[in-house]
Amino acid sequence: MSTVVLLMFTGLGLGALYFLVAAGLSLIYGLMGVLNFAHGAFLTLGAFAGWEIARRAGSDNWGTFLLSLVIGAAAGAAFAAFTEFVLIRRLYQRHIEQVLVTVGLALAAVALFDGIWGTDPVFIQGPAWFKDTTEILGARIPNDRFVCIVAAVMVLLALVFFLKKTRYGMIIRAGVENRSMVTALGIDVRKAFTLVFTIGGAAAGLGGVLASHYFGYVSPMLGGSLLIFAFIVTVIGGLGSLTGAAIAAVAVAVLQQFANFYLGGTGDFVVVLALALVLLFRPTGLLGRTS
């Protein structure tokens, strides 16, 4: 029982990270049709930015940790806004070229991170509490899992609030459904594009800081490895659906953890298998549009 609970929470923690990456990916794809390969680089930059703060301000107190979250999110947001404004916007409506540009950006950014911070993982420490465990139903669960889960839930709630209650949220929801009709109502949808990229970048940057605590290190490869699972999550959840991304993130991560433990480390393989099954029986994903 305790093993199951531990796996569950570890899976939820990982799912939280997947969600933070997938949320932006899914919204960006839903609204703009852009598959953003540079999203992992947003995350990595956020992680390194958070680490730089922690390194300077002393890593073992909560204040620094919270500050690193803010700085990580800000770094991811700034990088993302820059990407949209300088690269994506020039290729409006040319979706494949937009993908190519983000591929090039991911290559260049990761190489630059290699040059600046080195290719080896940089180990990171948070507040002492992170290393402790909390006992739930006999399972001793590392506290950093809870931090990830709480942060992701807060981001989810904030995003839902933003999408449901604000005018820009409304524009984004409408744009995901029918972008050209939004412009035909006299709305400059490009502002929403920059906004969605910025929000996605912020979530990814935040996810980067959290991921560095979850895994205990930062490396230039951090974003890339999470990105691939985030892609799987967005496809399974249904492209453009935030709720779908949340459900799929948790499902994929928990499945992965259980398969890794009970099926001899086959977690990644089982996840791809799940993807294949979803595609065979529901090509638009769990909550995807049926068009």
Partner: protein, 265 residues
């Protein structure tokens, strides 16, 4: 009546002037060298068979598809502007197939369309009391007629220089067709309308001028009544036979009776 319309057209500059308009979708030419004007009052009908490029013409005017040529709104050239700017300069667009946002509520659909500082919510509530009652409902769950009301309301919320209304009665029950026509007639008292319409009865009821497209080009312009009374013209350009009687009668059929269901008008 038609003489006054013509008279006005020569005196007052047109609200919309289209000249040598070409448009492409995915590289395919869909509008070819189309030229016409829309007078500053009343309803002008844009007619033609299915697939002749009526909807594409409307979309090209507001830049929803790639276009070239001259488009002048109230004396201002707009053919190079972005869609949202054209709309903001005073165009109300009611698209074919309504295009309401199905996952947004009725209220949200309307709020999204508000662009004036003081949108005319009151007017819309008076015109469409039904929508007020359903404001919290997802627009995707509305009936076709109700969706059309939402689509019309979105355009009527703002003060416009012109309304572009694309097949508002398509697929609607006869009773609703009548309601839509009434709404348009009401709206036309304050704003000129360019109307794409398959239902010739509705055209006869509402339109003063007519522009007829064939093969992506304009083949006829003039008062709507003249066109509707000429069975030969109708047969030639719309492919509808009117041998059941003179075209005048056709235009006088009881309200809401589609001329010929699914006819290739």
């Amino acid at each position: 009546m038609s003489t006054t319309a013509e008279h006005r057209a020569t005196e007052v500059p047109p609200i919309l002037r289209v000249e040598g308009l070409n448009a492409t979708i995915a590289g395919q030419q869909v509008v070819e060298d189309v030229s016409f004007t829309v007078p500053a009052t009343g309803i002008t009908a844009l007619l033609g068979r299915n697939g002749v490029g009526k909807t594409s013409t409307i979309k090209a005017i507001i830049g929803l598809i790639d276009r070239a040529g001259v488009v002048e709104l109230d004396g201002e050239r707009i053919e190079k502007e972005a869609t949202f700017k054209i709309i903001r300069s005073g165009v109300g667009y009611v698209p074919e197939d309504r295009e309401v946002f199905s996952k947004l509520t009725v209220a949200e659909n309307l709020r999204l369309a508000e662009r004036d500082a003081a949108p005319r919510r009151q007017l819309v509530e008076e015109l469409f009391p039904d929508l007020l009652a359903r404001s919290a409902q997802m627009a995707g769950t509305l009936s076709g007629g109700q969706q059309q009301m939402v689509s019309l309301a979105r355009a009527l919320l703002n003060t416009n220089k012109i309304l572009l209304v694309d097949e508002p009665t398509k697929g609607l029950a006869p009773k609703i067709v009548g309601e839509v026509a009434e709404t348009l007639a009401e709206a036309a008292k304050t704003v000129p309308i360019l109307l794409v319409e398959q239902n010739l009865h509705v055209v006869g009821q509402l339109a003063e001028g007519a522009v007829v497209l064939s093969g992506g080009r304009v083949v006829h312009t003039g008062p709507a009544r003249d066109f509707l009374e000429d069975a030969g013209l109708i047969q030639r350009h719309l492919g509808v036979s009117t041998d059941s009687g003179p075209a005048g009668e056709l235009a006088g059929k009881p309200a809401g009776q589609p001329v010929e269901k699914g006819a290739a008008l």
